[in-house]
């Protein structure tokens, strides 16, 4: 205890692991959010929102880390992961709208009549899309908001953080994986950073561990050594198992299977087992869809959450940050039959961006009608608190605002630089412009 502090000093800092955002930080956060929301919308991802409190469910993937709340006899938890909530939302939506029935009825909003008429034919290679649709519809959803996790907070893992993400539900095709990788790369580019996307496949690692006869209970531990590239630890964990030499070699080689696309050639040679080779081929098919692979890298040792991720997973990095900016992948069967998505950590992105200026007002005004014209033209105008001209000018000076607007007259209170002079001219043009009748505008 600091004995010099007054005993009643209020605690001003927010709870450890949470953060205030002052205008400069907040404006940057908003800008990143709106850039990414617009990006995802432009690719056809519709926004959805889910509640921040939900019933406590011990089978929820983040149940152990969730903050629990008690409401009467109910145990609730704060949202600790978006994906399960979005899955629930989709299941709820599906319960009210059976796409199979809708397709069979040739429902126009879901599917074109030609496709609809083809679904009673026996499935063939060209029908994979329709096969997918028969089990569930295709949904492209984006979300954003705060998450809370209860743990000892660190710089890297705070208690409260914000994610922006998306889910592509209802297809397990190569094209779906490719779309998400495209969007992961675009997300980093959109905020002005240079991306590097690392691709892995925990499903492939799980198949290797199954082949090796490693019991499910021990697989996560073995996978962790692979994920940490801890060859020594991996080798000692594998020691008790009698493994064919080629299988042991393949497992011990996985931590070093990272780099360019040539990694897949090495994987092919090391892993001839049909199931595993299928995964490597799927990887090749995904890579083949990209004209420019320079920002794509493969790391087959990415092996976290084996019980959850089933296919390609990825993380996006940038040189400015020691932490990945986003992560995600395919989790078929974990929550929904065919599902993949990713989430970007807003704080991680904002930390490495220069802060934008918060939009400060340009004018202080006591003239509501004229102010409305300026606001309609996109300028930020603050309504004066002062009543007399002198105190109105003083108010502008205190607020560091360059112009005052009094009874229709625009006046500069700062020394006019050429820049401010242009601005004054532009403001004057907006004030003089013929605007539609005020009453009409108001009624719109």
């Amino acid at each position: 205890m600091d004995s010099t502090a007054p005993p009643t000093a209020p605690r001003l800092a927010p709870l450890t692991g949470t953060k205030d955002s002052l205008p400069a930080l907040s404006a940057t956060r908003w800008q990143v959010m709106s850039t990414l929301r617009a990006l995802y919308s432009s690719w056809g991802y519709a926004p959805v929102e889910v509640p921040a409190i939900e019933p406590y469910d011990p089978t929820h993937p983040a149940a152990a880390r969730a903050f629990k709340l008690v409401d009467g006899s109910d145990v609730l938890m704060l949202r600790a992961d978006f994906t399960p909530s979005i899955s629930r939302l989709i299941q709820a939506q599906e319960a009210g709208l059976r796409p199979t029935a809708a397709i069979k009825a040739g429902s126009p909003q879901l599917i074109s009549p030609e496709v609809a008429s083809s679904i009673d034919k026996p499935p063939n290679e060209g029908n994979a899309f329709v096969d997918d649709l028969q089990s569930t519809g295709v949904y492209r959803y984006q979300y954003s908001g705060a998450l809370w996790q209860a743990h000892t907070p660190t710089i890297i893992n705070p208690r409260e953080f914000t994610q922006i993400g998306l889910e592509l539900i209802g297809s397990a095709s190569t094209r779906a994986d490719v779309e998400l990788i495209h969007l992961a790369r675009e997300s980093v580019r959109a905020v002005g950073l240079v991306p590097r996307v690392d691709l892995g496949n925990p499903g492939l690692i799980r198949k290797l561990l199954d082949l090796a006869g490693i019991p499910k209970a021990d697989q996560e531990r073995v996978a962790t050594t692979i994920d940490r590239k801890d060859v020594a630890g991996l080798s000692s964990l594998l020691e008790p198992y009698t493994l064919a030499p080629d299988l042991r070699n393949a497992l011990l080689a996985t931590p070093d299977l990272y780099g360019g696309v040539d990694v897949l050639d090495r994987a092919h040679k090391l892993m001839p087992w049909p199931d595993v080779a299928d995964d490597v081929r799927h990887f090749e098919a995904v890579i083949a869809e990209f004209e420019d692979v320079s920002e794509l890298h493969i790391d087959l040792a990415m092996a976290r959450r084996l019980d959850y991720y089933t296919g390609i997973t990825f993380r996006a990095y940038t040189t400015e940050s020691a932490q990945p900016l986003l992560g995600g992948g395919r989790y078929d069967g974990a929550l929904l039959p065919h599902a993949a998505g990713f989430a970007l950590g807003l704080e991680r992105v904002v930390t490495v961006l220069p802060h934008v200026y918060a939009e400060a007002p340009l004018v202080v005004s006591n003239d509501d009608v004229a102010a409305r014209r300026l606001r309609a033209a996109g300028y930020s105008v603050s309504r004066a608190l002062a009543t007399s001209p002198t105190s109105l000018r003083a108010e502008a000076v205190v607020m560091d605002v360059p112009f005052v607007l009094m009874n229709g007259q625009l006046e500069a209170v700062k020394e006019l630089t050429p820049e401010l002079e242009n601005l004054q001219h532009a403001l004057q043009v907006s004030l003089n412009a013929d605007t539609p009748d005020e009453n009409t505008t108001a009624s719109i």
Binding site: I155, I156, R196, D198, R228, K229, D230, V231, A232, G233, P255, D256, Y258, G259, H297, D299, Y317, T319, E320, S321, A322, Q323, P324, V352
Partner: protein
Amino acid sequence: MLKATKKLTIALPKGRVRDTSMALLQEAGLNLTLDGNSRALRHESEDATMFELRNSDVPTYVELGIADAGIVGKDVLLESQSNVYEPVDLGFARCHMSLIRARGDKGPIRRVASKYPNVAATYLQRMGSTAEVIKLAGNVELACLTGLADAVVDIVETGSTLRANNLEELNVLFYSSARLIVNRTSLKFKDAQLRPLIANLRQAVQAEASVLYNA
């Protein structure tokens, strides 16, 4: 945050481990030199910048990307719970982590003292024990001789402290040795420098091991 430069930044713990580490890194082709000033905390050489840190700070510097790589004992690494790569077991600074108590003590273990509270708590939880953990900063063995705790979790190198104080090891939690740890992003962006370093270190360690076992 990560520097744009391609020069590596290496975090090493002060003391004996630093000297062994420098020799190994040298052997692996990374030329590190000590600044003439003995008080220097940061040593610049052509290939790399080297930070000299307290060993428990090495994982922090590497996880946050201030250092691209570092060398630290597995004991300290496990305690730090940091999310880094650990591609090479360097094989030196060998010791093991044990559950220790006064020889002949048969009472229940309700309280465990340790310099490694995370390691101790994880172990106790795995063993189904509900014992509480007290964090101490040093001379941990004294805790179970004075009644502060019923047992301690600590590293054992030669066992001479245990013998001198009439203590015994009940269980070995794990064996520890020095590890090369690497920041996850650094490995991706400084692949050209780090991949050969990792390969050379593995080779150097293997050569050393074969000399030992074939002697």
